[in-house]
């Protein structure tokens, strides 16, 4: 059993810290105009962060519990391909999950 004092400390500071990170620019800059070069880079925040977040799962780390197996890898490829093709999160999720379950049924 972990120490409850430690658990509460972590919950409290992780919550406050995460909120401050989220509040940072949106809260402090507000309606002040950002320089054009800066907003031009901000247009790429999504594509610069989210594809990178997939990598640890593809190659496997201690935290992700190893690399993706064949069904999960195929499902990831299907989700990405269909998502780009349809430009839709819905079709991406549907393609990923159905491929995963189909492959797990087929290859086990």
């Amino acid at each position: 059993m972990p120490d409850p004092y430690k658990i509460w400390t972590i919950i409290f500071f992780l919550g406050i810290g995460t909120y401050l990170i989220r509040f940072s620019f949106l809260g402090i800059i507000g309606d002040r105009v950002l320089p054009a070069w800066f907003t031009q880079h901000l247009n790429y925040v999504g594509v610069a962060v989210m594809p990178g977040l997939i990598v640890p799962f593809l190659v496997g780390t201690e935290a992700t519990g190893g690399a993706l197996d064949a069904p999960r890898l195929l499902a990831a490829v299907a989700a990405f391909a269909v998502g780009i093709w349809r430009r839709s999160a819905l079709w991406s999720v549907v393609a990923g999950i159905s491929t995963l379950y189909a492959m797990m049924y087929l290859i086990g």
Binding site: R22, F25, D31, V49, G52, V55, A63, R72
Partner: protein, 240 residues
């Protein structure tokens, strides 16, 4: 998307609707977090307060994993907060769209700024440049209203059911598929593809950098790569 949000009400429902696919992601992720937290020795109260106060699944998992390993409090906090540093970039990216909203509203939006609300909103704002500030605010509100109750409820069910979830359900796949489904619709031009490739290549190259800082280094390089590709294409078009 496709539909133009003409009224505030339709903007809310558009934001809500665009996030419905993520029910398939958020529900298993919440279940898994609830189950893992209970296994790690969290009470239901601790689990629920953490999940509704932090509202950032990946960092909550990181904190649990390190807690299980007996890491010191400061290390746990630094590592888990580093996982959330990407949200400062989301926060900055939303400034051109939501910066003119009143401070109280921005303070509220900050609390609900998660991967899904950021990604779906920024996609909608980019696809519909004629959206007004009010419509943008309602869209964002719709996006988190769609997912937050489910996140809290599924964590609760996970905490109650605990370790009894069969591994055949492959709930672990929820996280990678979430980021795939969030990034795929963002691939709207060649510079976006280039940025995505640099992001993945960079994260791979810097995977050994502690506190998941490799992801952030890769993200900065990817943004630069995207903007430079965009400039290069424009220059080419001028001379063609």
């Amino acid at each position: 998307m496709g539909l133009t949000p003409t009224s505030t009400k339709s903007a809310f429902w558009l934001g809500y609707r665009d996030n419905i696919p993520f029910w398939l992601i958020v529900a298993p992720f919440g279940l898994l977090f609830g189950a893992v937290a209970t296994e790690a020795g969290f009470t239901i109260v601790q689990t629920m307060i953490m999940t509704s106060f932090v509202v950032a699944g990946s960092s909550q998992f990181t904190a649990l994993t390190l807690l299980n390993e007996g890491a010191p409090t400061l290390i746990i906090l630094a590592t888990s907060l580093a996982v959330n540093l990407r949200m400062a970039m989301y926060s900055a990216a939303l400034v051109p769209h939501l910066g003119r909203a009143p401070l109280g509203m921005r303070a509220l939006f900050a609390y609900f700024l998660v991967d899904q609300s950021y990604a779906t909103s920024i996609n909608a704002y980019t696809d519909n440049p004629e959206m007004t500030l009010t419509q943008k605010c309602w869209y964002f509100t719709g996006s988190f209203t769609c997912l937050l109750p489910l996140w809290v409820a599924s964590t609760f069910v996970g905490a109650l059911v605990g370790a009894k979830i069969p591994p055949e359900y492959a709930l672990d796949f929820a996280v990678p598929i979430c980021f795939i489904a969030l990034s795929a619709p963002m691939m709207r031009s060649l510079p976006h593809f280039v940025a995505a490739l640099v992001s993945m290549g960079g994260t791979l190259a810097f995977i050994g950098v502690p506190y998941s800082m490799g992801l952030l280094i890769a993200a900065f390089l990817a943004m630069i790569a995207g903007v430079q590709t965009e400039k290069l294409l424009k220059r080419r078009a001028q001379y063609a």
